[in-house]
Symmetry: D2
Subunit: 347 residues, 4 copies
């Protein structure tokens, strides 16, 4: 349901999204295989690092942090690959470092434009179940997510959808694998079994979580995330702060990454939120550390919870001496949410 | 600890605050005994009703809803009681209908001024554990609270502190009683036992809850409630709305009761908060129904949670067409909290 | 469902079975009213004590502990009451002190035999939901139970079924009452409300508990308790120990009370079970203290759980030097259960 | 504490014991490296399978199922390895398929006898935290366990202890690895961090679990498992059934694997236990399927719980027509436990 697929094969491992990445690579590729990917944040960077450690020949399209998967540069890179040596295109759908959501349909279009047969492997850890995701329609070959993001569960499951093409590539994939080998899952799951001890509580939890999403309806879930995100962006604007995400088309609806006011270390804002107001917001990771802070809005979350995060952030901004009008940010969000609110169907 | 007593005897019943009231009356009084009390809200009204049903001769000082225990009227009533027929003065410390906290020290002073020997029975259900309470210093004879307010537990325990004088009055108290008889508790508790099946989970819960309050320190707990309340009052002022509570000295730090904007049914505000924003705020009870709404701020609660309630209320006010500036109320609270914030000691 | 009634009115109070008793008395009777009851254990004794403290004129049919409600003695007492002064007959259905289940249908028959109009008030705390109970068919007027027995919940709710006749008696009932007054429940429940703060977690819990009983089917629930009880009785026989319950017709299916071996203090058995084997079985209460021990088998319980209790008891018996063959008791139960077992329907 | 090490480095991954195996191999070895191991059950078989899939050159000492790590055969194999090509000896400490506990001290002695420098990698999934384990004393290089066995937690953590020698081997280990790479843990753990999202609930759970084990004392924990196991073995003997484990020295104290009576399919016993008595015991895996059944006794477990399992098994044996005396098995266990019981220190 959350993957938007009727054709893909679901596979669940006890592990994290990082394990899902590894699984996507080792089951479809061999050491030495060429892959094409983007680096525009810490998570895409870590995936690149993993690809290299797994012995792949990685071509990285380097982007500024705050950009997404640029379809033109992708098309150009694919075009240069006249011998179709690139076996897979790997894209982080929603980059949690920068608040950037790339356009997977656009990526697929670029691949089709180049008539390129590579697999399309997508990290949907912080998007699937919260943002629109169309596995079948977008022609995704492997999509990876985890239990601890849009599913609002503890960490411990990584969940994949796999296309028939990706399954077929497994036979020739020479990467060593065992724990994250699809084969053992595929061999046992049809009989209702698993290859090694599963996490029963998380499987029950996932069932409950999917029931909640189903009851709300995925279209409504996606719309809710969009509403929460737009309120958060309006708050940032009212604080006079820019988003790290360069272009409106890439702005993430699952988290918003905001540039700290000039001259203020963003770590201090995060620290004050925690120390004074008992609120956890995200620091800037790696090369944007000190420059941005991150506010999440995915999973089981509504307007008043988000207002809580905005209010705490606003207080933290005041505590570090930012020149903002108290209430400006929360007020902008409130205005937007009140103007666009609907009655909750069950009320 | 939460009662502010070293001399009082604690008694715990499986029941609610209403049961604690009954216990306070039946263990100290006989049908026909005269009691003096105030009526200034639904809870003081219900206690008056109980007194009458228990066959007591109740003299009620009728007040406007929004007022507290007026010490002068109390003094006058006691003065008239030249034969000292009044056996007990019953006061609701914090009236949850109106957001009024009466001054129990002042009540005791009035009783002393009249050299009156009546017992002082206090309903502290929505105050004890959140607001300052000095059982010994204020000369309280019976104080009643419950598990579901400041202790942040489910409903199911009523907890009393009882003075030696109140205990001594038990022998002559002719009211029929059994379930809520102190005698059975007093007979069994010293040996670590109870007269009938206890609620073990709630007793463990209370221990945990008291540990949290102790770790924070009661003075800090009281200060936290004062901060949350002041922020809420500033929000109301920024919305241009009056409090039901007439006089600043009586304003409650555990909940705030706000008059609806002119021409707007307060039930509609509460309804919209629930229907559109998934927020539960309190309706006006009984004779202030439709006129006021209530925002709580007691128990395990901090600034960002309270901001959440204020933001939701503000959105509901906007949804019913109140003429307010989005962000004005939350902004006023945020400003106050940010200006007066301290680092949480454990951070 | 558990009461076996379609006509009775259900009433739920936050409190315990003891509160349910009080409620049954104060809502139907006036101080000075005559009531007829039996004393054959600690719980019937405590209810007698409550009746006396509530000012009722209590006629007690004194029985040996281990006997139940003797219908002939009841008939005789009712016959003597030529002026029909007895307002209520009060019977403990299942006496948890002695493991005796009285025959409520027989009690009603005796009342009908004497054409007596008294109300029939029944304590079903440790029977209803586990043993067969037919409120309508047996002509019960008030039946009382609690959340912590057959419903397998924490303590904190007392649940009543009330006949129209009992409801009608309320108007004339002069006992002072407030917390446990039916009136406030009857006035508010039809609108889905309650007169004072309810225990929400326990109400959800009760719903879940009733769902489980419903899924199993009450006839199956009753049969399960009978099976567990019979196994326990066979274990006692195999240990060479007598039951406290004198007559087979009165043997309880919700707990079994067993006489300690000659010369052995039963408290020691209970103590050794706890100290050495981490097992809680019941001491003998009041006048059978030291003489009997009690093994429960009601609520969410099956054969292997019960085997666990029997094994622990057997080890404790061995530890105190009882002359028994290891495995004899558990073996007798196992033999019976294995011979009579059925496949669980959902398996 | 549970590893018996002061020198080893602890590493925790979100994953299962299977992941721990992989981690032990990929961080110390390169494809093509020679390893020596035993196959005497399904879990040792699966580890062999993993070694082969990871590209290792695996020399397997094939044993009958029911045997443990034979030190003489190990010594012989090591002796033949004159060029010290064997890089690691891999041993499953407690084989959960067969109820066999191998002697790791003996394994180390055999390695020392051969003056062999290979690493000693040990699967302690179903032993560590329940059985005696001496990482330092036995010279173990990598020991692997999981959260869901002796720690009595849900599945989801694999926990390792790693010797300095094993850590040092990492640099040269050419196996591709990323998710289960020690390097990322070693780089982040000292600063209190982790390389990717951890399972916070399980980490808290492990702390609680270790607190319980510490309070009991590891020597007492080991003794408790030995007591439970001996009772279970006596039950099997009283049923006239043999253990799959050939030699007394190898009998596991964390689970017991019992041969089904002649002519009876062990799956039927397991099925009847589940269908009739709501008890889950283990089927025989792989080549002993149908021939044995398995009864666990590790983790948070005591005599009455174990009696419950034995009673249910006994009933299931009766249900499938085994010729046993009801109570014989449980009785033998009870006799042993009662004769050897001690007072629980906290009672």
């Amino acid at each position: 349901m959350i993957f938007g697929t009727k054709k893909g094969t679901p596979i669940i491992f006890p592990g994290t999204g990082t394990g899902g990445w590894e699984s996507a690579l080792t089951n479809t590729l061999s050491p030495g295989d060429k892959v094409l990917t983007f680096r525009y944040g810490q998570f895409s960077h870590l995936w690149v690092d993993m690809m290299q450690r797994m012995g792949l020949d990685v071509e990285v399209i380097e982007c500024e942090w705050g950009e997404g998967a640029d379809e033109e540069r992708l098309a150009a890179a694919l075009k240069k690959d006249t011998h179709k040596k690139i076996k897979a295109v790997c894209v982080v759908h929603n980059e949690t470092t920068t608040g950037v959501t790339s356009d997977i349909a656009g990526v697929r279009a670029a691949m089709e434009g180049a008539s390129h047969p590579a697999l399309l492997l997508v990290d949907g850890v912080s998007s699937i179940g919260a943002l629109d995701f169309q596995f079948d329609k977008w022609g995704v070959d492997v999509a990876v997510t985890g239990s601890q993001k849009a599913l609002s569960l503890p960490t411990g499951l990584t969940v994949l959808a796999v296309s028939d093409k990706a399954l077929a590539s497994r036979a020739a994939a020479g990467s060593k694998r065992c724990y994250y080998d699809w084969a053992d899952q595929l061999a046992t799951n049809p009989a209702g079994s698993v290859p090694y001890t599963p996490s029963i509580p998380l499987l029950y939890g996932m069932q409950a979580s999917l029931d909640l999403l189903k009851a709300e309806g995925m279209a409504n879930v996606v719309a809710r995330h969009a509403r929460l995100a737009e309120g958060t962006r309006r708050a940032a604007a009212a604080w006079g702060l820019d988003l790290l995400c360069k272009h409106p088309r890439w702005r993430s609806d699952s988290l918003t990454v905001i540039n700290a006011p000039a001259g203020i270390d963003s770590n201090l804002i995060v620290q004050e939120a925690y120390r004074r107001y008992n609120l956890s917001i995200g620091v800037g990771l790696s090369k944007v550390n000190g420059k941005v802070f991150r506010i999440g809005h995915l999973g089981n979350c509504d307007e008043v919870m988000q207002a809580s995060a905005l209010a705490g952030t606003e207080m933290a901004l005041l505590s570090v001496g930012a020149k903002i009008t108290p209430g400006a940010g929360v007020g902008a969000a409130i205005k937007y949410w009140a103007e666009t609110s609907k009655v909750i169907p069950t009320r």
